[in-house]
Symmetry: C3
């Protein structure tokens, strides 16, 4: 049950939110063995001045940043996480997003930290 939260420029949301959501989920399916319908995403379009960054950090030429936060169960080895990021980035590049304009941050919790529409054991 990954929960994906994307803060992104409103123009990018208007143009490509459906494709972005589809490609991020495809990356989870391919790189993290998540079932295709285990898809929970929040898009938060942001207006001018709401996403603030320094374009020069780490010598990356950032221009129009989108920020992808993933909340998921602590479960995956580091190599698999890195493969997941690479898969996401490659797919986003294919739909016209610059790899420099992507920030991904993962937070982890446990299986007991989720309720998804039914009470377990009932």
């Amino acid at each position: 049950m990954p929960l994906v939260q994307v803060d992104l420029p409103r123009a990018l949301f208007d143009q490509k939110a459906v494709e972005i959501g589809r490609e991020l989920q495809a990356a989870f399916v391919e790189a993290a063995c998540v079932p295709p319908n285990d898809k929970f995403q929040i898009f938060r379009p942001r207006d001018a001045g709401e996403i603030v960054f320094d374009p020069t950090y780490d010598e990356v030429d950032r221009r129009d940043l989108m920020i992808i936060q993933i909340l998921m169960v602590h479960h995956y080895p580091v190599d698999q996480k890195r493969a997941l990021y690479a898969n996401m980035v490659n797919r986003l590049v294919e739909i016209g997003i610059r790899k420099e304009d992507i920030l991904i941050a993962v937070t982890e919790n446990g299986f007991e930290d989720w309720y998804a529409g039914q009470l377990y054991g009932k």
Copy 2:
């Protein structure tokens, strides 16, 4: 100091945000011994296309999803967490929300990870 963040359809926010906030806090008081006035909530109304999910995951008939994220101190045993989710869900059902339309995700931190209006030790 639980911090509750609710991304929900704008129509639901307009109709029931006050009741939702009241019932979520009542659940914390009843199931997690949180003081009634230890209440910190963010509502983020979402427009069309901003909450994306597959209605079929785990054979739950989702229609109009609200996503409740809770940030709280690592402190509660698993059984108490489950009782908290059940309490929340039962209360939301009582105000007309389908239990299938609720997603809850918990993230935990420590006591040292909070500042709430005063510097401790001052």
Copy 3:
């Protein structure tokens, strides 16, 4: 790579978002040795009824709450975290924000939980 997320009243955003962002980053630089250009912030202006709190909790006179969430690598000792909060609060007070109107909550992850515009090892 701290990621700072600020949910705040829209009026405060309109008046002071640039200063708030600058001062929060200055606190990271001064109190947590973060490079000045390692700056990633999301501002989420909130309308009436979207930030909900009890003004009396812990005997703090809250009036117009802003909520600062920080996602950063688990790395800092507790004393340094507290110094970071104090630095932030003092700087925000200097630009006219009441210290009672600030909530800070930290969530931590690991170095392997970030992608920032380039795939490491490539």
